[in-house]
Amino acid sequence: MFTRYTAALAALLLVSAAPFAQAADKPTDPQIAHIAYTAGVLDIEAAKQAIKTSKNKEVVAFAKDMERDHEAVNKQALDLVKKLKVKPEDNATSQALTKAAEEERAKLAKLKGAAFDKAYIENEVAYHKQVNGALETLLIPSASNAELKSLLETGLKIFQGHEQHAEHVAGMLK
């Protein structure tokens, strides 16, 4: 029992820590902007896959909510970097996030029906948890521009809402 929990926890930590573990140094504002924007784009792509694949009303509605919110937040982020004249800078964390999302998308592409719905929603819970953890412990504390920090803080509240929303939908699928 104990071993099983430990193993599960280790696996969870491994999954959730992986993309951000490479950013040992404090990211700069241009890198933070890139990471936040990339995280949004990846969730929009996941949402598009779900809208196309799922037949479940709740799952499709959730995916549409994700697409709408993340597009709105990313538009705000783009407006802000333009205003601040910050050029988002690609970095190891953005690349690791993108790679992980590509793998997840390939995995989901092989699934249909209830199996797809379950895998998509479970990944949405895990993904938001991971991004929220990174926002709280790394990105927000590292941001030096006050407006960028404020946008990230609002983003965190939105994505914490998404995490709870995803957990609710996951509960309905059981």
Binding site: D65, R68, D69, A72, V73, K75, Q76, E153, T154, K157, I158, Q160, G161, H162, Q164, H165, H168
Partner: protein, 105 residues
């Protein structure tokens, strides 16, 4: 006689005032950065709640098993309260947003 009629009339006026329903009010709740403010409101049946959404994303005010109001980004939406009682509401898109309404009869 004259003064008696006057007294009766004024009594009628008092009764009419007491019987007329209290004027319905509009209570404004602001949504800013995913916070309903004020979080708790006191209302009565017939009052209207108007939610003013200052965020760039859509929200809802949803009572589980009850009413739901959609509040588009940068827009307002309202609801007239029909039943008395205390209800908790939340945003269906962001369940971490919570509000409470006490509706007096």
């Amino acid at each position: 006689m004259k003064s008696g009629a006057l007294i009766r009339l004024s009594w009628l006026a008092v009764l009419a005032l007491a019987a007329a329903p209290a004027q319905a009010a509009t209570i404004e709740v602001t949504i800013d950065k995913l916070v309903f403010s004020p979080a708790t409101i006191e209302a009565k049946v017939g009052d209207t709640i108007e939610w003013v959404n200052r965020d760039l994303i859509a929200h809802t005010a949803t009572v589980k098993g009850g009413w739901e109001v959609m509040i588009p980004p940068k827009k307002s939406a309202s609801l007239t309260l029909k039943t008395a009682g205390a209800v908790d509401y939340f945003c269906r898109f962001h369940p971490n947003m919570k509000g409470h309404v006490n509706v007096a009869p």
